[in-house]
């Protein structure tokens, strides 16, 4: 059924693109390539509201500076990119310039997309031109003053943006370079996983070492550090991205959406290339020192864990594959920033569902019957048992996240 649908859609895509004047016998292949590349780039995440027409825009992005909305990128003449030439599109991807030289905000990850090869942009653009045009005017800039003044972006770009296509490293394998191209370019992993400076630019010297956004921690996905993914094999990385779950972890929050929309559809060889790239440069981890087991918070946390957590996560923190995340030696559990853990205990979280892992299990919310101190204690225990070692969690940190959630 699915295969059939894809083929049908492809045929429609072909006829429409011909109508738009694309030439050459290869236009079918170019459009299909563009379709796949747009999946790699997860364009729908910001440009499609679930249930609304594809790429018609309007997805609200909460940034520390205010709200931005994903643009309508359907080929509608008035409200989409129907009037754009390919060069306009290339400028948006590589320079962060919209039509008429208007500068785009960094929420559109052109700081990563600048690495996308021109030939790939050609394919993506050809594909976008085949999508149904939808008239939907989106006010992309909903920031308050002074952030809504786009000229400020000239200075922002000077500090935070380095333009230029991806250049392969001849010292590395073709596979490694493919992985680097995907991670640094279309995959735009750094948009969430790289720490940000005060004005929201990437701290590129700390590429992919983890960041906090909207009370979710995008963890360290380098192979270095107690909170990194050094213990994951290449197969573990591929499985996580393909299914949303592996023996260590289950995707939740924004990453669950990424897996559902994007990475579950990536080709296996692309996922493997990503894994090879991320695993490169793994360094042995220097064991951190856990909080002592007889610490008051640890003793209290142990009792709460036995009562409230151990049924699913098991008394040894091993969990159950594809169902209950493993807590022992899990990177996120060992992250310096406990925000995601606090958030998940207070508000619960649901895993994404994929064809390969359809269960979509959930962590229930405990915010209604565990106090700030209870949550702090149980997380301190989890973060410092079974080989884990991470700073203790304080009740005031829990209080902050609780208030942040309430404000939403």
């Amino acid at each position: 059924m699915k295969t059939l649908l894809t083929v049908c859609a492809g045929v429609i895509g072909l006829s429409v693109s011909l109508a738009h004047g694309a030439t050459g016998a290869d236009s079918y292949n170019i459009v299909e390539k563009g379709r796949y590349l747009s999946t790699l780039g997860d364009c729908t995440a910001c440009h499609t509201i679930p249930g609304k027409p594809l790429f018609s825009g309007g997805v609200i992005l909460d940034t520390p500076f205010g709200k931005l909305a994903g643009a309508n990128i359907t080929p509608d003449q008035a409200t989409g990119i129907g009037r754009w030439s390919f060069e306009d599109f290339q400028n948006a991807m590589s320079k962060g310039h919209g039509l008429d030289g208007k500068r785009l905000y960094g929420a559109m990850p052109f700081t990563a997309y600048t690495k996308v090869l021109r030939e790939d942009n050609l394919a993506i653009f050809a594909y976008l031109k085949t999508v149904d045009p939808v008239e939907n005017k989106v006010e992309t800039n909903q920031l308050p003053f002074p952030f809504n003044v786009r000229t400020s972006l000239i200075g922002w770009n000077l500090i935070n943006f380095k333009e230029g296509e991806f250049k392969a490293d001849p010292q590395k394998s073709e596979q490694w370079n493919r992985g680097a191209y995907l991670v640094e370019g279309l995959g735009h992993c750094g948009t969430c996983h790289t720490p940000k400076n005060l004005i929201g630019g990437d701290k590129n010297d700390q590429f992919l070492t983890g960041a906090n956004l909207q009370n979710w921690v995008a963890p360290n996905i380098t192979s270095t550090g107690q909170d990194g993914i050094g213990a994951w094999s290449e197969a573990d990385i591929v499985k996580y991205l393909k299914t949303g779950a592996n023996r260590f972890d289950i995707a939740s929050g924004p990453m669950a959406e990424e897996v559902e929309h994007s990475s579950q559809h990536w080709k296996d060889e692309d996922l493997l290339a990503v894994a090879v790239y991320l695993k490169d440069g793994a360094k042995p981890v220097e064991a951190a020192k856990p909080v002592a087991a007889d610490d008051g918070a640890m003793v209290a946390g142990k009792a709460i864990y036995a009562d409230r957590c151990s049924a699913c996560h098991t008394p040894t923190g091993e969990g159950a594959a594809n169902l209950f995340p493993k807590l022992a030696m899990a990177p996120l559990v060992n992250s310096n920033d406990p925000s995601s853990l606090i958030r998940v205990v207070l508000a619960g979280s649901r895993a994404g569902a994929t064809d390969a892992a359809p269960t979509a299990p959930a962590m229930p919310a405990f915010g209604w019957n565990l106090s700030d101190e209870n949550v702090a204690d149980v997380l301190t225990y989890v973060r410092n048992t079974w080989g884990n070692a991470a700073p203790a969690v304080s009740a005031s940190e829990v209080k902050d996240v609780r208030e942040g959630l309430r404000a939403k």
Partner: protein, 587 residues
């Protein structure tokens, strides 16, 4: 008037075990399927949260997962000479509601029926001849063990049943139930660990020469990825099991095994909070044209379909057929008609034992965690000269002694006050019970029909149950309870209290939700409603699936067989019916 919707390939009525299994199988044929469910969408993550699922007041006392009697109930009487009255709160049984149906709050005990059950009338006639009581209207199922076994195996793999085989391909297996039919393969998961009471029972049974085995359980012994790729967890013995949804993804139900996959299929649509009012038929009466349903706004819609599958709880299966004029209603006086015929139940017996020196930690448990023996079940023993046929599954399965309901007190204890409190403290942890869930055999006077007086809020007649325990079953109950009493006695309790099903059926105390018959399967359209493929005689594009198809009830829990029949019907549709749609399947 109902507004007519565009036609679809298949409608499936009821999204419990049977409907979910069939819808999922047929979705793989690329058919466009719409599933209807009178209750809400239920989902482990949203509805059965580990932080709130263990709520005895909500789920056990207030029956949160059951249908509301105000929405739909039955009327009840013991005999045709009485006027039936409506059941205003559930007592004897617990019909479910919402996706997953009664399969959310079931106990999880998953026996297969034995080979001789499928030809019970022939078998008992061959063995006992004229001794068989004329009171009984036992029938063969029109199918046999060899046809059923592959579908039982399919369900085992879907649900991750945990157990120990007693017979693999004819080779008897040590430690399993040696009375079971030959299985094609071992259970997908090993048996769960056992708590103290079942362990003591198994020792006592063994000492008396019986062969105890772990009760086959849909509460999983270990994490499992099922045959559809859905992940399930290991049972934690939390004790909030029967009457509750499972928060740990460890009790198999349609919502933990099938629906996560089914809802991802683009050719499947679920319509929840939609009550199906009737099946629509063409003027010949030989073709179902679809169904009429009411949505939650009270609007009526007609959904035409090429194929109609009715897979609700037994009561609604039979009632929809009566309301839609499918088959001739059964009349016990003239002994004509088939719709409503051979209604049967389950015969519940037990022996409770009070000890002084034991601590069973009874709060640890699950609906299907326990040990059983089958020496007194069905036709596993010689009934010559006993004056009855049938028997029961003897077992100890402590489901978890929750604080409100669990007051195991010896007879004569005051029902309130300080003596009552003292007796509670003394007996709570030191009491156990051996159950014997026994067969219920059909008679001419036990049947289902539409009530002439009482109607549901939409003006449709309620279903009327006319039932009493047959003489055969009461004799059987006395016999098996005495046998269970011998085992209990050998365990040296301070006091034992046998309870055998005697007297009339009383609808007030909970007994069992194992209700069967009324639209039974068989080889002959004169005395059955559906053929062995669950296809309605004379209406080839209508299939009715569920325990409504059982001609009588053996001494086992029905769910495994309901699910096997669902796979069987789906297989018949996929491999036979779709090749010649609109025709009766001939083989």
């Amino acid at each position: 008037m109902a507004k007519k919707l565009p036609s679809t390939d298949v409608v499936v009525v009821g999204l419990g075990w049977a409907g979910s299994i069939i819808a999922n199988e047929l979705a793989d044929e690329n058919l466009k399927i719409i599933g209807f469910e009178r209750g809400p969408w239920r989902d482990t993550a949203a509805d059965f949260n580990v932080a709130s699922a263990a709520d005895e007041l909500r789920y056990s006392r207030r029956q949160d997962l059951m249908a509301r009697t105000r929405q739909n109930t039955t009327t009840i009487r013991n005999s045709v000479t009485e006027t039936a009255l409506p059941m205003r709160s559930w007592g004897s049984f617990h019909p479910g509601n919402g996706t997953g149906g009664a399969g959310n709050h079931w106990a999880g005990i998953t026996f297969r029926f034995q080979p001789h059950e499928f030809r019970l009338h022939s078998h008992l006639t061959e063995r006992y001849g004229k001794e068989l009581s004329p009171e009984l209207t036992l029938q063969d199922w029109g199918t046999d063990w060899d046809e059923m076994e592959p579908f039982y195996a399919k369900f085992d793999r879907l649900a991750g049943i945990s157990g120990k085989a007693g017979n693999i391909k004819g080779v008897i297996q040590e430690g399993g139930n040696t009375f079971e039919g030959a299985r094609s393969e071992e259970y997908p998961n090993p048996p769960t660990a056992q708590t103290y009471a079942p362990t003591l029972f198994a020792e006592a049974a063994k000492n008396l020469g019986y062969k105890p085995f772990p009760v086959p359980s849909a509460l999983l012994s270990r994490p499992y990825v099922n045959s559809l790729g859905v992940a399930m967890g290991a049972c934690t013995f939390c004790g909030f099991c029967t009457n509750y949804g499972c928060a740990n993804y460890s009790k198999a139900s349609a919502i933990t095994t099938v629906l996560p996959v089914l809802v991802r299929k683009p050719n499947f649509t679920a319509m929840t909070n939609c009550e199906v009012l009737r099946v629509t038929m063409d003027s010949s009466g030989k073709r179902a044209t679809g169904i009429v349903y009411m949505d939650s706004n009270g609007e009526e819609w007609e959904q035409p379909a090429e194929l109609v599958v009715i897979s609700a709880f037994i009561f609604e299966n039979v009632r929809l057929m009566l309301l839609s004029g499918v088959g001739q209603p059964y009349d016990p006086v003239t002994n004509t008609g088939t719709t409503g015929r051979n209604y049967a139940y389950q015969t519940a017996n037990s022996v409770r034992m009070f000890f002084d020196d034991k601590n069973f930690n009874p709060f640890i448990g699950g609906g299907a965690i326990g040990m059983g023996i089958d020496e007194f079940n069905n036709d596993n023993f010689d009934h010559s000269g006993l004056g009855f046929v049938g028997g029961g599954s003897t077992r100890v399965t402590p489901i978890g002694a929750a604080p409100i309901d669990s007051r195991p007190l010896p007879p004569g204890t005051p029902t309130w006050g300080s003596e009552w409190k003292k007796a509670t403290v003394k007996n709570y942890a030191s009491t156990m019970s051996i159950g014997c869930e026994a067969s219920s055999y059909a008679t001419r006077t036990n049947y289902l029909s539409l009530d002439p007086t009482y109607k549901d809020p939409l003006g449709r007649p309620l279903l009327r149950i006319t039932f009493d325990f047959p003489e055969n079953d009461r004799k059987m109950a006395a016999y098996v309870t005495a046998k269970v009493g011998e085992i209990a006695k050998s365990m040296n309790p301070r006091q034992m209290v046998p309870s055998s099903q005697q007297g009339h059926w009383n609808s007030a105390p909970y007994q069992s939700s194992h209700i069967v018959g009324g639209f039974i399967m068989g080889a002959d359209p004169k005395n059955s409603s559906v053929n062995k493929h669950l296809q309605v005689w004379g209406v080839p594009n209508l299939f009715v699936v569920g325990s409504s198809a059982f001609p009588q009830n053996p001494g086992y829990n029905p769910t495994g067989t309901v699910a096997a029949l669902a796979f069987k019907a789906a297989d018949a549709i996929r491999t036979r019916y779709l090749k010649r749609p609109g025709e009766m399947i001939s083989v």
